[in-house]
Every structure is written in structure tokens, then in C-alpha cells.
Symmetry: C2
Subunit: 168 residues, 2 copies
DNA sequence: CTGAACTTTCAAAATATATTGAAACTTATT
DNA sequence: AATAAGTTTCAATATATTTTGAAAGTTCAG
């Protein structure tokens, strides 16, 4: 397979995967492009490679910087801004985990906490069904958050090797 | 907080969380409704509670059955179909994990495998950058898949208690 | 077999999300 | 200070996704 063909294939597939997980397709494609680039790319490079407008390229590259997945790179003697992605995949994964936890899971947990006590007789079947479900989601979420916090702080080798021991 | 208010709040929040993760809002709301229901609900119940059309209710309830998160319940002497959600949250979580892995992650991994060898000089910087990124994503994905497979098969208590040991 | 009860389908309409591109803004150079 | 180079914004437009609802399909009791 030719390099350019492989690059395009990767960019497309990464974009599709992203949309399936609620991430803007173009943002993911810009990310993919930067992940496989040998050197930092300018906004014009990105526009060209993905056939997208300047506005779109600009907005997504900035969003990726918000997510801390991409950094601005200054090249001496060039007024253009260049961009480079974090390439350590463990760091990429834990970064995404951190961001999504913060943006999406934490607010849900906050809501769950507010739902813990409903008015009325706790022996009432409807109230019991509701409360039990909420409580078990809360318990699960607490464990999941703990797990994610460990991963976010962990060093990759330590994490996987510990995890493998778990299986023995 | 009143029960009905709390129910609505939960359904809304669950729906929002779902859209953020690429899941149809209504499907998630139907799921939420069934998770907190004290007894199986009919299509008419669902339409009423969520103010949605029959077509929408029907399609989402069937999609939830595809995902194996909801079962059809037959009530003797009633021609209507009723629906009930799996309430064990560990089972819900591992079921979702299994489904999303199968539908979304496995296809991506298949693509990654096809991208492993590109034509050309392996010392070329562009080719090297591409290959290295793909390889490290593949390695990460392989570990992640292994982890998910363990979780999918695992019993909840065993998993969390083993995981806690890992931290010591 | 017939008709009532219920479920499913799917084209059209509604809604939500993403993209464009030109104007406004910012920054660096002469 | 004027200009050129580059970046950002955002209203208008385009695209993608979801929802509706009525017609077609199915099932079952009498």
C-alpha cells in the first residue's frame, strides 16, 4: 500500500470512529493528520490535506489545543503558526479520558447525587425501583471514576504490567 | 425532590450523556425509563412518558433489544408487548462495552492491521512517522481489547477487588 | 375466514450539527 | 503609521441525523 493511500485510509477511519463516539469528524481527522505527520503542519497544510475551509481548520485545531492533544509550534523566521500532536498514545488516551470524564461524566455524577433522596415512602415499589437503580449506577460510577483517575496518573508500563498480574 | 421530577431529571441527563457519546438521545431515554421503571412498560407507556411517536418508540426499543440491554416481556392475557431493562449495572456496562467494541473498535483495528506495511524506504522520515504512530496505536489497542475482554467476562466483585489490590 | 389489536416500515418533515468564506481583528515588518 | 501576513469570528448555508405518522404488515380470538 502506498503511503498516501494509507494516510488517507487512517484519517478516514479515525474520523468515522470519532463520530461514533460523539466527536466531531473533522476534529478527529485533523488529529489523525497531525498524529501521522513527520513534522508540524500549518493551517494551510491542514486545509490542503483535508480539503476543508480555513475557518474549519482553525476552529478544530484550536479545539484540539483545548483538549491538550495538540500544541502550537513556533518556527523561527516564519509568521505562520504550526501544530503538532502529542504522539505518545498512552498520553493521548489518558488525556482524552481526563477530558471526557471532566466534561461529560462528572456532570452526570453530580446529577445522580442530587437524585439520591426522593420524597415518599421508601417501601413504595416505584420509589424503591428508582432509588435502587440510581444507587447502583452511583456505585458503579464511583468505581469507574477511581479506575480512570488511576489510569490518568499512571505510567503506561506500570499500568499494563500490573493489570496482567491481576489476571493470574 | 418528587419522584416524577427525579425520574425526568434522570431521563434527561442520561439522554444528554448518551448523545455526547454518540448514542441516539431517544434510545438512551427509553433505556433510562426502563432502568428506573418498577415493572415492564408497553410501547404506549413509553410513548406517553417520553412524548414520542409510536414509530420512534418502537424503533428504539427494538434497537435496545439488539444491544441486549432490554428484553421483551410477555404478560399473560395481554396482547401488548412489554419491555424490561437489565438492571444489573455491571452487566449493562459490560454489555455496552461488548457491543461498542464489536461494532466500532474491532473495525478500526482491522483497518490498522491493513496499514502496517506501506511501500517505500523505512528510513524515510515520513514513512517512519506514519509507521511508528500506527504501530503504537495498534499496541495500545491490543492491550485495551485484552482489558475489555477480561471485563466483559468478569464478575463484578472479583474485578473491582482485584483492581483495588493493583493499587497497593 | 374476518376483523380488531397491535407492530413495523419508511418517505417526508423537522431538528441538530458542521462547514464555509468573507469581514473583522491581531500581529509583525518596513 | 501604513501595510502585509496571518488568525479568528460568525451569520448564512449545507449536511447529517432524528422523528413523525399514516399505511402496510402481522397476529390472534371468535
Amino acid at each position: 500500500m502506498k503511503l498516501n493511500e494509507a494516510k488517507q485510509q487512517f484519517i478516514q477511519s479515525w474520523g468515522i470512529l470519532a463520530t461514533q463516539w460523539g466527536i466531531n469528524r473533522t476534529m478527529a481527522q485533523v488529529h489523525a493528520l497531525l498524529l501521522i505527520a513527520g513534522e508540524p503542519l500549518s493551517t494551510d497544510n491542514i486545509m490542503e490535506e483535508l480539503s476543508i475551509s480555513r475557518g474549519n481548520a482553525n476552529m478544530n485545531v484550536r479545539e484540539l489545543m483545548n483538549w491538550q492533544l495538540v500544541d502550537k509550534v513556533i518556527i523561527q523566521g516564519d509568521r505562520k503558526e504550526y501544530f503538532a500532536a502529542e504522539k505518545d498514545i498512552w498520553k493521548v488516551a489518558t488525556c482524552i479520558m481526563y477530558q471526557r470524564k471532566k466534561r461529560e461524566l462528572d456532570p452526570m455524577i453530580k446529577v445522580l447525587n442530587q437524585l439520591s433522596d426522593v420524597e415518599g415512602d421508601k417501601r413504595n415499589a416505584e420509589i424503591k425501583a428508582f432509588t435502587e437503580t440510581i444507587e447502583s449506577i452511583k456505585k458503579f460510577a464511583a468505581q469507574a471514576e477511581k479506575t480512570m483517575d488511576v489510569m490518568i496518573k499512571a505510567e503506561e508500563n506500570w499500568f499494563w504490567s500490573s493489570f496482567i498480574k491481576l489476571l493470574k
